[in-house]
């Protein structure tokens, strides 16, 4: 894409961009993930859902190794994530992540937040980084806020800036960890709209979310987790209309009430 070197080799539609085999993780005695197998292809949109404490966030945080898994293997574009790897930063630069609590840098303006990544670690010069930051802010529809500080923005605006900040790195994959859970209800839509547009542009997306409308509209596949396991995964159509497992039915009953 454009002017930067990309670190992850381009995948064909066939090979998975992310693949997990037998991944398990423990916090002390508590098993947070057990024996997860999952493959995600390029341009695929995955929604991970499930009751709280089911391991969804842990799973998505393992994909850029903000959390370490203890068993099994995780490959991102053929590069295995493990504790002795030297170039985790190189992999992370290609995986964007959006957090529940935004995590914008409060001492930097919106524009500086977006320029930081490309300018500091991708080696893009300032004027180019600024150009790209403005373009991404336009994409999330808040270019007019560029010179403000994060705390001057609403929650929804902050989260859109966070998305723009990730996009400025021109990632191959975007991870969303409950991006709308900390928002006031009237701001959820603006963030979801941004994510829907991103999905339309062909981005590979993995979203942990409770927004079932979004899942139905955007997801190629819905992964349902409970107690650290993947209980079932299916197309939205099948998942909502024809859930296979008892746990899925209970969950859907509660969330769609």
């Amino acid at each position: 894409m454009m002017d930067t070197k990309t670190n992850i080799p381009n995948n064909t539609e066939m090979t998975p961009v992310i693949s997990l085999k037998g991944v398990s993780k423990w916090y002390g005695d508590f098993q947070a993930l057990s024996n997860i197998d999952l493959e995600i292809k390029l341009k695929e949109k995955i929604v991970i859902c499930g009751p709280s404490g089911s391991g969804k966030s842990t799973l998505i945080r393992c994909l850029n190794r903000l959390e370490a898994h203890q068993e099994g293997t995780i490959h991102v574009s053929g590069i295995e994530l493990h504790e002795r790897m030297k170039d985790i930063d190189v992999v992370r630069q290609d995986i964007g992540m959006v957090f529940q609590s935004f995590n914008l840098f409060p001492h930097l303006t919106v524009l500086e937040n977006c320029m930081a990544g490309p300018n500091w670690v991708r080696g893009v010069d300032k004027s180019k980084a600024k150009e790209r930051a403005i373009a991404m802010l336009e994409q999330v529809k808040i270019p007019e806020q560029a010179d403000k500080y994060p705390e001057q923005l609403s929650g929804g605006q902050q989260q859109r800036v966070a998305i723009a900040r990730s996009l400025c790195m021109q990632p191959k994959v975007m991870l969303f960890d409950e991006p709308t859970s900390a928002l006031d209800p009237e701001m959820v839509a603006e963030v979801l709209d941004t994510m829907i547009e991103l999905a339309k542009s062909g981005m590979t997306m993995i979203c942990v979310t409770h927004e079932m409308g979004f899942a139905r509209q955007v997801a190629d596949r819905i992964v349902f987790m409970a107690d650290g396991e993947i209980v079932e995964q299916n197309s939205p159509e099948e998942f909502f209309n024809n859930p296979q497992h008892e746990r899925t039915k209970v969950f859907l009953d509660q969330i769609l009430k």
């Binding site: 850029n64 903000l66 930063d89 190189v90 992999v91 992370r92 630069q93 995986i95 964007g96 992540m97 957090f99 609590s101 995590n103 914008l104 840098f105 409060p106 001492h107 930081a116 990544g117 500091w120 670690v121 500080y149 705390e151 966070a162 900040r165 990730s166 790195m169």
Partner: protein, 321 residues
Amino acid sequence: MFVDTVIEDKALHKPAFLIGLSLTVLAIFFALNFTNSLFGEFLRPVIGDPTESGFFGRFAVSLVLTIIFVLNLFAISFFKLKVQVAIVWLELFLLFLAFAYSFDLKMSFIQSRIPLMITRGLFTTIYISAISIVLATVIAIIGAIAKLSNNGFAYAISSFYTSLFRGLPLLLQLFLIYKGLPQLGFMVDAVPAAITALSLCYGAYMTEIFRAGIQSIPRGQWEASRALGFKFNLILRKIILPQAVPIIIPPTGNQFIAMLKDSSLASVLGVWELMYLARTLGQRDFRHMEMLLTAAMIYWALTIVLEVIQARIEEKYKQKS
């Protein structure tokens, strides 16, 4: 601080409080007995010779003082907050001057010695403090990062350092460095010894301040930076430290002020700084209080300068965010 939006009646405007306050103050003044002071002298027309006035004189003096004191408070209570603060400051300062005046100071003596106190004493004090402040800050940054690192050696060395230098009295450190190093073959002059001791001691305190400041930055800032592929040094320099600085400034300002005054300990090594001159200049003529009070005022003025600088910096960071 958080100020509630509900206004309570002023305590000073409640009769019960006023009476209670008056009785308490009266009891205190009576116990302290100001009969033989200036106040007794003022009341001579009423009570006669203060030393002979006995119980009646003591009570009369206390009563007059109490009335002045309580009326003063009552009057001040009607002003706005800022005016109140200014009046109380002024009154306390006048009391302090009265305290100083009561020593029967010889101003000409002060005037003749003050040039030396400033050119030599004040200069040396500032010189020692300024260098120590810079060195202590550098030590604190390195110490804090070492203390937070996963490197066993770095953590061990930095935690040993903070434990040792926070654990020993500064005066003892001063002697250990000044008397100890020459025995190992390193000759140190008094001024470098004082600077070394101050830097190491305050570096240890400030290491803890800096560490706490860095740790107070939410974990999410590290995670977001890591997720963007930033390396440790970059995160610390560009994301964490800029956010930690406003948190670190108030306690660090405190340390600077404390250090400025602790530089007076260098006087025990014979360094000609403010405290040393204050002790020695008045000795020959038995004019101790003149010199000690002069030094006191200079130290106070210096710390006020530091306080103002600290307030300015805090204000600057407040505007930025």
